[in-house]
């Protein structure tokens, strides 16, 4: 693909969101959408500018981002480790998997009342919920990835004298990577979802809290701003994951430049 064409295809993805913004602005300006229901994009930007100046926005974004990151690291780390263990060892799988599947079938957001009783509304509660939500997609996809590594390649590694360590690093892990990335992207979605709900219900800081506070005072522009920030953060996380995917899966036919 030539350079200008590539630049154009990168821009393509922005046509729709920007178009929606323009239509929204026009409909608000001519008074078709009342400001009480949905403030115009310019009003949202003004509101954003205000909270940005008084430092509230940065603080809340940072708090939410930090919760998401810590929860993701804990839940994702444990999920990845158990996924590897249960993918590689039948014994470990027999011992753990059915228990984990039972827990998986409880919607983790249903635990909010219990989590508030246990941890109150401080950081632990949110991080716990995020970790729990993120755990399962990472766990299941890691295990599935390891399990579905081409058995013929494993056999090849064995006949060529690879040690167990070499087999893991050079056959199992790279073979499982495409599936692990699917889990990663799915987990990132769950991460924001969990955080939004948790912060909306029980928090004293963060973007969800900011939105709930604004609702109390009927500040629709701040509520809309919060929602947009969530969308941007979610997009940012997904783009990061896709970038990593492209870097790590360059060998995969699906990621090769045509």
């Amino acid at each position: 693909m030539s350079a200008p064409a590539e630049k154009f295809s990168n821009l393509t993805q922005w046509i729709l969101p920007i178009g929606i913004l323009v239509v929204w602005q026009v409909l608000s300006s001519i008074g078709f959408i009342p400001g009480r229901v949905l403030p115009a994009p310019t009003d949202v930007i003004l509101a954003g500018w205000k909270v940005l100046l008084n430092g509230e926005l940065a603080k809340n974004i940072w708090v939410s981002f930090w919760r998401a990151l810590v929860g993701f690291a804990i839940g994702g780390g444990i999920g990845f480790a158990l996924g590897l263990a249960n993918g590689l060892s039948r014994r470990s799988e027999r011992f753990l998997d059915s228990t984990l599947q039972m827990i998986r079938n409880v919607p983790h957001l249903a635990l909010i009342p219990l989590v508030i009783l246990w941890f109150g509304i401080d950081e632990t509660a949110k991080i716990f919920l995020v970790a729990l939500g993120v755990f399962f997609p990472i766990y299941i996809n890691t295990q599935h990835g390891i399990r579905t590594v081409d058995a013929q390649l494993v056999e090849m590694g064995q006949t060529y004298g690879m040690t167990r360590g070499a087999l893991f690093w050079r056959v199992y892990l790279p073979g499982a990577l495409p599936s692990i990335f699917v889990g990663l992207r799915y987990a990132l979605g769950i991460m924001w979802l969990t955080l939004i709900v948790a912060e909306t219900i029980a928090a004293s800081s963060g973007i969800g809290y900011m939105a709930m506070q604004a609702r109390e005072f009927l500040l629709v522009d701040i509520v809309v701003l919060s929602i947009l920030i969530y969308a941007l953060l979610g997009k940012l996380a997904d783009s990061t994951a896709r970038l990593l995917e492209r870097l790590c899966l360059g060998w995969h036919p699906a990621f090769q430049k045509r």
């Binding site: 013929q152 056999e155 590694g157 006949t159 060529y160 690879m162 050079r170 995969h252 090769q256």
Partner: protein, 276 residues
Amino acid sequence: MTVHALKRFDNVTELAPQALVPADTSRGLSITAQGLEKSFGDNRVLRGLDFHVPAGQFVAIVGRSGCGKSTLLRLLLNLDQASGGQFWFGERNDAKPDKSAVRVMFQEPRLLPWASVLSNVEVGLGDKRGTPEGRALALDALRNVGLETRRDDWPAVLSGGQKQRVALARALVSNPRVLAFDEPLGALDALTRISMQKLLGQVWVDQGFTAIMVTHDVAEAVTLADRVLIIEEGEIAMDLSVDLPRPRERGSVEVAQLEGRILRELFRNSKAGEDA
């Protein structure tokens, strides 16, 4: 003789009339099997095989599908354990050959898709992997199959024949003493197949390893091998030496006659056309 002496793949089709049999077979290891048996449950796949393959010989094992020929190869490669009997490489039955002495080429290339062509060849180096010496050997092996310009490519962009050539380079890079082939050309198109056969014949001549090839293509067996073992229902039904002069032309009268004889043997014990 080292891999350096190999003719480049591009030239192989011209088949320079140099050595047609290995000049030096001392690199090869002999293979001996005594009463080799393998059962899966009640199914006796191999029923006591006895054979001896002298060092440096090219032996083809043919048989109908399900006759146990692939099982035999898996036993030799330690991918399965024998249910009875024993086999060994070399003259003594208590000596284990060096780990990289026995190499295999499968029907599928089995290249690591996430490793470059060169890294895939380096898989065959064993302990020498990651050393400058190993790198040089891998590049040599790649040059000898005519793919040195593709060293940094992913396997996914290669054609089927090119992938098999990388797999061959991987098998040869450690200078094996026994090379086992499990229908290595079965998945290739007819033309690629013929040039690959020439390449296989040439590396065998140049390196003098013992070659043991499982195939269901009788013409391929007759073209390449010194000797053909026919396995039927887990037993050796026929042990035929192929003393035709080399190079052998696919489709020549002698090759066709021998091929016909083997095919008759394969069909003798079955109702005609049962699954052919």
